[in-house]
Symmetry: C2
Subunit: 127 residues, 2 copies
Amino acid sequence: MVMQQGVPENLTIQQMAQVTGLSAHTLRYYERAGLLDLVDRNQQNGYRSYNERHINWIHFIKCLRATGMPIRDIRRYTELLQQGENTVRDRLNLLKAHRQRVEQQLREVKEHLEAVTRKIGYYETLD
Amino acid sequence: MVMQQGVPENLTIQQMAQVTGLSAHTLRYYERAGLLDLVDRNQQNGYRSYNERHINWIHFIKCLRATGMPIRDIRRYTELLQQGENTVRDRLNLLKAHRQRVEQQLREVKEHLEAVTRKIGYYETLD
DNA sequence: GTATAGCCTAGAGTGCGCTCTAAAGCAAGT
DNA sequence: ACTTGCTTTAGAGCGCACTCTAGGCTATAC
């Protein structure tokens, strides 16, 4: 196994788990869920073999998840990606719609957090 | 049933659902979960009877939920509330800890959203 | 009285996103 | 050869927050 420096290649699922911060279970789950096609296998033993492209992709998936995109939408995005260049417009629309929803939700959370802050202020006057 | 104007009183669960935007199912669930003690009953028929205090309380619960506080933490807060004045400090700490977590999460979401925005920017150059 | 509509309870079901288990295969060390 | 520790799969289980169902009671209109 490489892992000295340079471009990561032929990573086992545990190494991939370390690098991405996801568990091996979750990596397999994402693959089954269609978020991660194209995972090559080691020819000798049939183990999954990840490379830098997978790392970058997982990193982006984590951004989508962290901003609340559901698994099925990420699968949809993945499918578009696999269908090639003529889906760029669809992918763009999908991401833009997502961004808009997230921004709306950020505004709502901030608003509701202000109510919490007001309550905190009230409690502080009692101290 | 009153409902003309002035202070809401003796609301049925359906009226309460309308006012709060929660379903009757959810109102019962919140009560069972310990988020909502003290729901009086109509002496004749045993139906739940809500008043303005309940409305305000549900409104605050919605702020906590909207900012991601789990049900069990809201129950904890409810318990403190029921234990009276000497829990003010604990309630304050609970809300402050919550606010801090939410603010942290807002920062993280914003960061990850920037990655999405960068991807959008990239796609737009392809157009 | 009867129909309809709203309320009650206990408990089952749902959807999501993991997370774990069992049984089996492969790899490296002693 | 045996042990240890990784990998594989299919499928079960979990925690959360609802959401709904079944069966029964109550209230009002006709």
